[in-house]
């Protein structure tokens, strides 16, 4: 587990410095499966942690990792079943059912951070291809009214 902790520190530092974390983040998914009991403590149903067996998934990494984030995910305005609820712990993975990945592949996400000073990166994966969908940092740590991000991005190639 010491190795896992090292990677977590590395992940947080990369987010702080706004360095792409894709490989590191997806590499941490499998340890998460071991740690699923801990992860699930903060994942309210029907959220489920995606596994590598999912063909397509979204991966969210954020700091401060102990700050809960309320997440709502939509593909082409259809709610992603496992993608609505509150997560804590600095990273979360959401499986996207294959049937949902149809054009125009408009992924809409709402991220509501419970406290300021956040940074996040949202990554997508289809099979072995990983791609950064969006990233951001709290524009004003003192302000409470900028801790909600609602955006639409293209999920993968058209």
């Amino acid at each position: 587990m010491a190795r896992l902790r090292d990677h977590e520190i590395e992940l947080a530092a990369a987010l702080q410095a706004d360095i792409p974390v894709g490989d590191l983040l997806f590499g941490l998914r499998d340890p998460d499966r071991i740690d699923l009991a801990t992860v699930n403590a903060f994942v309210d149903t029907p959220m489920t942690a995606a596994t590598s067996s999912a063909r397509a998934e979204l991966a969210l990494a954020w700091i401060p990792s102990d700050v809960p984030v309320t997440v709502h995910l939509y593909m082409n305005e259809q709610p992603i079943v496992s993608g609505s609820g509150t997560v804590r712990g600095g990273r979360a993975f959401f499986a996207i059912p294959e049937a949902m990945i149809v054009d125009p592949r408009k992924l809409t996400f709402a991220l509501s951070f419970w406290q300021g000073r956040w940074s996040y990166q949202l990554w997508g994966r289809i099979d072995d291809r990983k791609f950064l969908l969006q990233h951001g940092t709290d524009p004003d740590p003192a302000s409470k009214d900028d801790d909600l991000v609602v955006q639409s991005v293209l999920f993968g190639a058209p």
Binding site: D44, T70, P141
Partner: protein
């Protein structure tokens, strides 16, 4: 030199960039709330720096990246600078983020001082237990389902944002209810050196607790100090003089032309060493602090001190501080094709 101090609590902000007045008012109010919640800064020097001439109270302050400040009382002035751990390393944990180092110089006394302060806000969401969070999550879920936009809803993203905002509002209420009784606390130690006389000056330890929600919107700050003063060798008193003080202060924020904060407080000091050469004293302060820019604060203070049944001097002070917040990141990235 006795430290004569006044605090300015500035918990408001304004930016003239918005055309829409109502929106601007909402924004200002939200920032006031946020600042009140996080006690971002206080203008002037920190009172736990023993050479500071303009602070009687301290309160926990967080996220002061790098702060430069000055305060003037009568013909005396103190200049100080502080740096916070989170400015160097980013947010790490609620137990570390409130660590600050500080240094100051007092002109009249020719006193250089340095100190360390540690603050923790027990209302920090990172300190909440899993069960506390689960409770809130369960309660806010229905709020979202009431207004969740359906596929094809015009202006989907705006409707989604409004709906999540409703959920967030409920969450904030529940969170405030669960944590309002918790204080933010700070512990500080500082010591001074008199460069004129080449001797150690006063050292002090300060404990402060900041409570919101016990008196409605009013913030209550309770402070306890202990000070040790090394006297010049030619004085007949014992080499060290110690005194302890404790007091209460209340602070309220108002929003007129500019948002400003009014504070009033009193503190009682008592001698705790064998022979202090003076009696207990009482000090009363009142101050108005105005946040003139998001990161710049201006304060005007008045202070009265009496000791041993004698009415002491009344002094007026002026304080200014400027905080550098660590820069927020660049513009968001565009979507990368796979």
């Amino acid at each position: 030199m006795r430290t004569v101090t006044t605090i300015l609590l500035v918990t408001a902000a304004t930016t003239p960039a918005y055309a829409d007045e109502a929106k601007e008012r909402d924004r200002v109010r939200a920032e006031q709330d946020a600042d009140a919640e996080h006690h971002l800064s206080q203008s002037g020097g920190d009172p736990w720096l023993v050479s500071s001439s303009a602070s009687l109270f301290t309160r926990p302050s967080f996220f002061e990246g790098i702060k430069l400040s000055s305060d003037t009382t009568g013909k005396d002035a103190t200049y100080s600078a502080s740096i916070g751990a989170s400015a160097v390393a980013g947010p790490i944990s609620p137990l570390v983020d409130g660590l600050q180092g500080s240094a100051a110089y007092n002109v009249n006394g020719k006193i250089v001082s340095a100190g360390v302060k540690w603050s923790v806000d027990l209302r920090d969401v990172r300190l909440m237990s899993a069960s506390q969070i689960s409770e809130i999550v369960a309660a806010i879920k229905p709020e979202f389902h009431k207004c969740e936009p359906t596929p094809g809803t015009p202006d989907f993203n705006r409707r989604l944002a409004e709906c999540v905002a409703k959920q967030d509002k409920r969450r904030t209420e529940l969170y405030a209810r669960a944590t309002s009784w918790l204080p933010a606390i700070s512990l500080a130690v500082g010591t001074g050196y008199n460069t004129d006389a080449n001797r150690r000056d006063k050292s002090s330890a300060t404990l402060a607790a900041d409570l919101q929600g016990v008196l409605g919107p009013t913030t209550v700050v309770a402070t306890a100090n202990a000070e040790w003063d090394q006297l010049p060798p030619d004085m007949s008193l014992e080499a060290f003089r110690s005194r302890a003080g404790g007091g209460l202060q209340i602070a309220d924020t108002f929003d007129l032309v500019l948002p400003f904060t009014v504070t009033i407080g009193g503190k009682l000091f008592a001698c705790i060493s064998n022979d202090c050469g003076k009696d207990s004293s009482v000090e009363v302060t009142a101050g108005i602090g105005v946040r003139i820019k998001k990161s710049a604060q201006l304060g005007i203070t008045g202070k009265w001190a009496g000791s041993g049944g004698h009415i002491g001097d009344a002094l007026a002070g002026l304080a200014f501080s400027y905080s550098f917040v660590p820069p927020a990141s660049k513009s968001p990235a565009t979507t990368e094709p796979p």
